[in-house]
């Protein structure tokens, strides 16, 4: 099956600034694809080139088999767009916006009232846009992006500026979009968001794509380290732990080192090693040696760590 989005070697400059450079990727039908990177990395420019709002200086883009520059109106009929930091008329009512948007498309649109219901905006249907909260505005923009029953939905920094609760609610909505069989293309600088939502992500920095894969594969590829933190009063524990294969470092903090009268003091160990098997090996070692533990947790690397490793800095820097 042909990819829904094909981007090949696009480049876009603003004056002497290169916003996007030699970016290529494909998005397949029915997936949630995320373009992740810090602010100013070229996410929005890339997305707006695909939506037909900007013309790349070089390279080619095909969306649903259409050219976003030449077939822009045909394309707009079939896609839904949520723009970063968009606004509506201050005093437009929620239902009026939905009604207006529904009138803009040739094809049959979906029932606006039902959409408002699904997005939890029914009580706000007569409210002016300017009176809505950040989360309500975003939900309205999602409604406007879905009103034409699009095959492909673009979401640009959807949850930026929202509180964690509103953010989670929006994530559920996005998963709901995919469940309706639509393809979702989103940008975010929140690694947690990408990890929880996206089937595949492309990491972009300074206008270039560094790597593309599923979040789990990216983590496995770039950050194979696993960490186990446990606490035990077993005196021989450290010795035993050293025999575990592929352990790279073992750090122990004797939490009761200053209370010498307590011979049963707990020691906390941080065991670092490579590969998925590390955790199993540690558990195996504990049970084989009958080591009693009072604390046990694993620390897994995430996309944040991948980003740090690939770029040498945190995404928030």
């Amino acid at each position: 099956m042909r990819p829904v989005i094909e981007v090949s070697a696009i480049r876009k400059t603003y004056g002497s600034t290169v916003a996007v450079d030699d970016v290529s990727f494909e998005v397949s039908d029915g997936e949630i694809f995320g373009l992740i990177g810090p602010n100013g990395a070229g996410k929005t420019t890339t997305m707006e080139c695909i939506e037909g709002l900007r013309r790349p200086d070089r390279g080619s883009i095909s969306v649903l088999g259409l050219n976003p520059i030449h077939d822009v109106y045909q394309l707009q009929e079939r896609i839904g767009v949520q723009l970063q930091q968009a606004q509506l008329q201050k005093r437009i009512k929620v239902w009026e916006a939905v009604d207006l948007w529904a009138s803009l498309y040739k094809k049959k649109t979906i029932d606006g009232e039902r959409l408002l219901e699904q997005l939890g905006l029914v009580e706000k249907r007569n409210a002016w846009f300017m009176t809505l909260s950040g989360g309500q505005k975003q939900r309205l923009f999602i409604a406007l992006a879905l009103i034409n029953n699009p095959e492909l939905v673009f979401l640009d920094e959807l949850t930026t500026g929202l509180d964690p609760q509103a953010r989670r609610a929006i994530w559920d909505l996005v998963r709901g979009i995919r469940e309706r069989g639509k393809t979702v293309f989103l940008t975010t600088h929140l690694m947690e968001e990408a990890e929880r939502l996206c089937d595949r992500v492309a990491i972009i920095e300074h206008g270039r794509i560094i790597d593309i894969d599923s979040p789990a594969s990216l983590v496995n590829r770039h950050c194979p380290e696993r960490t186990v933190v446990l606490a035990t009063d077993d005196r021989n524990a450290a010795e035993r732990f050293r025999t575990i294969p592929r352990v790279e470092s073992l750090v122990s903090n004797n939490s009761s080192s200053n209370s010498s009268d307590n011979s049963h003091g707990n020691s906390q160990f941080t065991i670092r090693g490579l590969g998925d098997d590390l955790v199993t090996e540690v558990i195996h070692c504990l049970s084989e040696n009958r080591i009693r533990v009072t604390e046990f947790r694993t620390i897994l690397p995430n996309l944040e760590d991948v980003f740090l490793k690939l770029t040498g800095h945190s995404i928030r820097d």
Partner: protein, 249 residues
């Protein structure tokens, strides 16, 4: 191509009316100027003075009408620049909506508003000026709509290039009001110095004033063909120019 036009126009009218200050200013100022100036002149100038009665009879209604048109232009410039700055234009652009449709909707709103203001003026005039006025109101309305429509295209042009909404209103005013001075409204164009005459000839407001005055006085449309042609040319020129330089964001 005009899909969404009527819905957008209707919503824009409602939104306009929801801003009491804007509505009051746009509709109220021409009416107030009309009444205020009329009162002042009517009191100071003796009824015998033909110049004063000519101004009350012809100049004042035309001045008020031109103010309507300029008010419409300034309001268009402001709205478009606010919409651009707020990302509203960009959001509308990411739909099958055509740019022409957005501009057309705003022009229709402004024209309807101008017509409404004119009606108010006529009613106010009937109430406060006992002078019998036998102007062809229907023809005059059409002339005002043509003038407004043409001058609005200057508004597009200003709206296309003003950097921010904060500058829109002052820049618009600085461009529009001096046009009034040489428009022939206060002194006949022929009596202006040569430079003034030359400037007046290229400004559409001059033709709008000539058309409005002529129609008010009962001239036939044929006598003002050149005014209408000039206004249409100005419209085409400004629209073409603004289409080239228009910025959505």
């Amino acid at each position: 191509m005009l899909r969404g036009l009527w819905k957008l126009t209707w919503i824009e009218i409602k939104i306009f009316l929801r801003e009491p200050l804007g509505a009051l200013g746009t509709i109220g100022i021409p009416v107030l100027v009309f009444l205020g100036a009329g009162r002042m002149l009517g009191r100071t100038a003796a009824p015998a003075s033909p110049a004063a009665s000519n101004f009350i009879g012809v100049g004042l209604p035309v001045l008020a009408s031109v103010l309507i048109a300029i008010g419409a232009v300034l309001s268009l410039v402001t709205i478009i620049s606010i919409y651009r700055e707020g990302g509203i234009l960009k959001r509308l652009r990411a739909t099958p909506l055509r740019p022409q449709t957005i501009l057309t909707a705003h022009v229709v709103v402004k024209l309807l508003l101008s017509a409404a203001t004119l009606v108010l003026l006529v009613l106010a005039g009937k109430r406060y000026y006992p002078v019998g006025i036998h102007a062809p109101l229907l023809g005059f309305t059409v002339a005002l709509l043509i003038s407004t429509w043409s001058i609005l295209s200057i508004g597009f042009l200003i709206a296309s290039i003003v950097p921010t909404a904060r500058f829109a209103q002052p820049i618009g005013a600085v461009i529009m009001y001096p046009m009034l001075a040489v428009s022939g409204l206060f002194a006949p164009v022929a009596s202006l110095p040569p430079v003034g005459q030359a400037v007046a000839k290229v400004l559409p407001l001059t033709y709008a004033v000539s058309l409005l005055e002529g129609i008010w006085k009962g001239d036939s449309w044929w006598a003002h063909t050149h005014d209408v042609v000039a206004l249409v040319v100005a419209f085409l020129l400004c629209t073409a120019l603004s289409a080239r330089v228009f910025r959505w964001e």
